[in-house]
């Protein structure tokens, strides 16, 4: 009798663990006490994604039930597809392994890079961190602000880039749309070396993401070497391009287009640019757990993310390190995730064609 009930229990447990049906016993409280959570960051220790993750670690540790250790595991390689593929194949469905992605993880996925063996639809988003981008130019070009951008059309410009299928797709396409004569020089090992090339005077136009701009370019602006001219802007609830909240005084690309050409931008190029900008920036960095993770664990993660960003001191620390963007959790994060990982097929087709004809590049 006892034996049978044990067997039944075991069978029930087996069914529950195998098919992921939350059994009533586990469905209550999630406690990560004494556990170690592995956070895969498919980037090296030198970059922005690592900084972002390391920034979040202490807040998440405090907010998660049972205060587990969150250990960041850097797995760079193959334009971030390596670590992401690893998570797709090996990540567990118990909330103990999570993934942090960036725009450069989204782009190969959206463009159908053959190294990609992951699908964003297999994951549940926990948190999304927006970021912006700022374009700045050398003062020797004689352009003081976006209003005399027309002058820039005549200048021959060079731009340091990591490659047209990286996140640099957004600036390169924006320059094309604005009608600037910009020639990219590839082989840069990151945005940092591009900035160094700007400081050397090798390139006279460059862009940096918000945290890097705030920290690294602001001193150059103060010295009068660099002049910020525009941002990528950000999308509001209705999907309209508006000014970046961190730089309310700088116009966004759409405004600059209007200043230069006298009318608002439109057409397939502009639609494609907006789609890829939305994929690369408003939800640039995201935290994921795998789909199939028990509902209560996903809920615990989402609650912890919401709790973390509401903690006293978080806001100030975040503004300093990540810029003044609202960190998205819950429904908001899900909305951003949708936009970032679903580019309309027409936009994708247009961009693939542009890459082929402009750069002879097939991802």
């Amino acid at each position: 009798m006892i034996r049978t009930s044990i067997l039944t229990l075991a069978a029930a447990g087996f069914v529950a663990t195998t098919f992921g049906a939350p059994s009533p016993v586990v469905a209550q409280k999630v406690d990560f006490a004494g556990k170690r959570i592995e956070w895969i960051i498919p980037y090296g220790t030198g970059g922005g994604s690592n900084r972002w993750a390391r920034f979040y670690v202490p807040w998440l540790q405090k907010a998660l039930p049972g205060n587990p250790i969150v250990a960041v595991k850097n797995m760079p390689g193959a334009s971030s597809t390596k670590g992401t593929n690893y998570f797709a194949r090996r990540g567990t469905k118990d909330g103990l392994s999570i993934l942090g992605t960036s725009g450069s993880t989204q782009f190969p996925f959206l463009l159908g890079d053959r190294r990609v063996k992951y699908d964003y639809a297999d994951w549940e988003v926990i948190l999304a961190t927006p970021v912006g981008g700022v374009v700045y130019i050398n003062k020797s070009l004689g352009v003081k602000s976006a209003s005399d951008m027309k002058k820039l059309q005549k200048a021959k410009l060079k731009f340091g880039s990591q490659g047209p299928t990286s996140l640099d797709l957004v600036p390169l396409l924006a320059f094309d749309i604005l009608g600037l004569n910009v020639k990219p020089v590839f082989g840069m090992k990151g945005r940092g070396p591009s900035r160094l090339a700007f400081e050397r005077g090798e390139v006279r136009i460059d862009y940096q993401t918000t945290p890097a701009f705030l920290k690294r370019v602001t001193p150059l602006v103060k010295k009068g070497i660099a002049i910020p001219i525009m941002t990528w802007g950000t999308l509001n609830e209705n999907g309209k391009l508006v000014r970046d909240p961190t730089f309310p005084n700088l116009p966004h690309v759409g405004e600059v287009y209007k200043m230069m050409h006298g009318k608002a931008p439109k057409g397939p190029a502009w639609t494609a640019w907006k789609a890829f900008m939305a994929a690369g920036f408003p939800a640039q960095k995201m935290i994921f757990v795998k789909k199939g993770t028990p509902k209560n664990i996903v809920a615990a993660w989402r609650a912890a993310a919401a709790k973390a960003i509401a903690m006293p001191g978080f806001e100030a620390a975040k503004n300093k390190k990540l810029g003044k963007y609202e960190q998205a959790t819950g429904k908001k994060a899900q909305a951003l995730y949708k936009v970032a990982t679903n580019v309309p097929p027409a936009a994708k087709k247009w961009v693939l064609n542009w890459l082929k004809t402009r750069y002879n590049k097939v991802p």
Partner: protein, 659 residues
């Protein structure tokens, strides 16, 4: 400036600062002594402590950790011939032969006192240089950086040994191996068979281990006995210190070179050691002992690589561009603490900059001092019978290689390039020439492409480019003047020259094949992706073809004629197993890893290898296995590292450490 110096001096001599610095050094020493770990792993260990610490103490700890990394991996490179990082590859060349001669303690003593000295000289140079560094560094554009890579490549002449064509071919192979993977200009994947791992290029640490450590392991196992042929330790570290002092001007020069090249962002620290090594070889009056255990070959790279860390601080602090892996770690740590690198480091925060520079020097002194003190004891390892050490070595090398990208591909590359390394050793091809080509391949191509894009071909007339070009010519002239003449510098005069050159001809044919393959692969890419590898192959093919002709025609009097199997120490001895025998063991091990994963494979390897090759009892074998595997398991657990998995792990989910 003086005020900043005074306040910085007060800061670093305070008790708490010293204490935390010391803590960082000890931590770095424990992590760094294990090849392949070092900086990044050290940081992840340190991170939990850094949070909540006050910035100055955290900074002290961080500096202590960073300073010790290029010092502590000297142990394995000198004692075992295992270069754990790019900072110790050149040290192996003469350090390991010294250990084999039974002078391990002396070599370590020389290495650590040179590290210490180099670190201090570097700090002195930096103290004055940092104030004017910003504009100076901005003068080095892609054009000047490209020319510097040419200066580096010109060292091949001195690193080539007695046969220039072998040297050039070795360098060419290095360049070609380095060009494998994504092309800088177009991102096309060259020579990578559509493989994602190869698409990222070959990792330097793995190539270093494959070229130096793998051939040595096989060689040591075959010749039997212990690493130290006399099973003695010889004179102690005081002798090494005296050596350093006798060559203090050499060390000063190398420290200066290290400091300046380390300060140039974008060139990367890995070149420094080779340039220092080439420098000592081309300026030495008698360069016949290099590669066989010349103490100067240890002093030069070691004094340069600690100064290099100091130099590397400049782009990190002033531009937030880290020049090396450990500086990337340092930058990450600085940001965590809340310190922002940038121009203000010399404008408003000069005292903090001095705290950092001098702490680094102080940490060098403490770290090298600690290493000196324990060097005699650690050197005892070289007197142990090698059969007992071998499984530990295989474990250490494979684990270190795996840390490069944490991919099973690391182990396969280790084996494949290891085969090339074994052939290089056997036929007397200069491995340093290969390494210098490999190290500079990516930089030379990238900067050439960028310089042409930015300045057109007119970049060749930039004043900086012309100055570096003149330096290159002087360097070649020096090298040519001191080129070894006559007999092969690796050969033992008492042994006969090989009479049958067939094996050499096979290898030459293989090299011809490699370049031909590079050419065929190259022409399939767009112009910008193809021009560099195709250019190399077109230059190298005739040289390789000629060498094949010479060897196939059995021209035994030609300078290229060398075969370690006939001229080596083990040649003609009884009971020496063939080259293939131990290679099969290694291949078997790596194949087992692919099947059942690293953890099970290494346990099995320990058991079978010791059982077959040593006369130890089962109890003793089990104890050794438990120690070895237990050590690596706990290390991985603490540092959140995974072991390489195989097919078993691909299909089944297993609990750690089996997973």
């Amino acid at each position: 400036m003086i005020e900043s110096m005074i306040s910085a001096f007060a800061e670093i001599t305070s008790g708490t600062h010293l204490l935390y610095l010391f803590g960082g050094v000890i931590m770095g020493l424990v992590v760094g002594i294990f090849p392949g770990l070092g900086g990044i792993v050290g940081l992840s260990l340190l991170l939990p402590f850094l949070y909540g610490m006050d910035p100055t103490s955290a900074l002290a700890m961080l500096i202590g950790l960073v300073a010790i990394i290029p010092t502590s991996d000297t142990f394995t490179s000198v004692l075992m011939g295992i270069p754990g990082s790019s900072a110790s590859q050149a040290t192996v060349l003469d350090g390991f032969p010294l250990a084999k001669k039974g002078e391990a303690a002396r070599a370590l003593g020389a290495a650590f006192s040179a590290s210490l000295y180099g670190g201090v000289i570097g700090a002195i140079v930096l103290t004055f240089f940092i104030v004017i560094a910003r504009p100076v560094i901005l003068l080095f554009t892609s054009a000047e950086l490209f020319m510097l890579t040419i200066l580096g490549l010109s060292m091949v002449g001195v690193l080539a040994g007695n046969c220039l064509s072998k040297g050039l071919l070795a360098c060419g192979l290095g360049l070609m191996f380095g060009a494998l993977g994504g092309a800088p200009a177009t991102g096309e994947f060259r020579m990578s068979f559509d493989n994602a791992y190869l698409g990222d290029g070959l990792p330097l640490v793995v190539v270093g281990l494959a070229m130096f450590a793998v051939p040595e392991i096989i060689d040591l196992l075959r010749s039997g006995g212990s690493i130290s042929k006399s099973a003695k330790l010889g004179s102690g570290w005081t002798q090494g210190f005296k050596d350093m002092w006798a060559y203090r001007w050499l060390c000063t020069r190398c420290a200066g070179i290290g400091c300046i090249i380390g300060a140039l962002p974008g060139l990367g620290g890995s070149v420094v050691d080779w340039i220092a090594y080439g420098h000592v070889k081309q300026t030495a009056k008698d360069s016949s002992q290099f590669g066989k255990g010349d103490i100067r070959g240890v002093l030069a790279p070691e004094s340069a690589n600690n100064a290099k860390e100091g130099g590397g601080l400049i782009p990190t602090l002033l531009f937030a561009i880290p020049g090396s892996g450990s500086m990337a770690v340092f930058l990450g740590g600085m940001e965590l603490i809340g310190l922002e690198p940038g121009p203000s480091m010399v404008d408003g925060k000069l005292n903090l900059t001095y705290v950092i520079i001098w702490s680094l020097a102080l940490a060098n002194v403490i770290g090298a001092g600690c290493c000196l003190l324990i060097s005699r004891n650690v050197a005892q390892l070289t007197t142990i019978k090698y059969v007992y050490l071998a499984p530990f070595m295989v474990m250490v090398i494979c684990f270190a290689a795996f840390q490069a990208t944490r991919d099973l591909g690391d182990l396969m590359v280790l084996f494949a390039v290891g085969l090339v390394g074994i052939m290089f050793k056997r036929f007397g091809w200069p491995r340093p020439a290969f390494l210098i080509g490999f190290v500079l391949a990516d930089n030379s191509e990238t900067y050439l492409y960028q310089a042409v894009q930015f300045y057109d071909w007119g970049f060749l007339l930039r004043p900086g480019v012309i100055i570096i070009f003149v330096l290159t010519v002087i360097s070649i002239w020096f090298g040519a003047r001191n080129a070894p003449t006559g007999e092969t510098d690796l050969a033992d005069e008492n042994k006969p020259k090989p009479t049958n050159m067939k094996p050499q001809a096979y290898f030459a044919a293989f090299v011809v094949f490699l370049f031909a393959w590079g050419l065929i692969d190259g022409v399939q890419h767009s112009f910008l992706g193809a021009v560099y590898p195709v250019g190399i192959c077109l230059v190298m093919l005739p040289i390789a073809g000629r060498l094949f002709y010479v060897t196939a025609k059995n021209k035994t009097e030609h300078a290229a004629n060398f075969d370690y199997e006939i001229e080596g120490d083990h040649a003609g001895k009884e009971g020496v197993p063939g080259l293939v025998y131990y290679l099969t063991w290694l291949a078997g091990f790596i194949a087992t890893v692919m099947l059942v994963g690293f953890w099970i494979a290494i346990t099995g390897f320990f058991l079978t290898f010791l059982r077959v090759h040593s006369d130890a009892s089962w109890t003793r074998i089990l104890t050794m296995t438990t120690c070895g595997v237990g050590f690596i398991t706990s290390l991985s657990w603490i540092m959140v590292l995974n072991f390489p998995g195989g097919f078993l792990q691909y299909y089944f989910k297993l609990p750690w450490p089996l997973s």
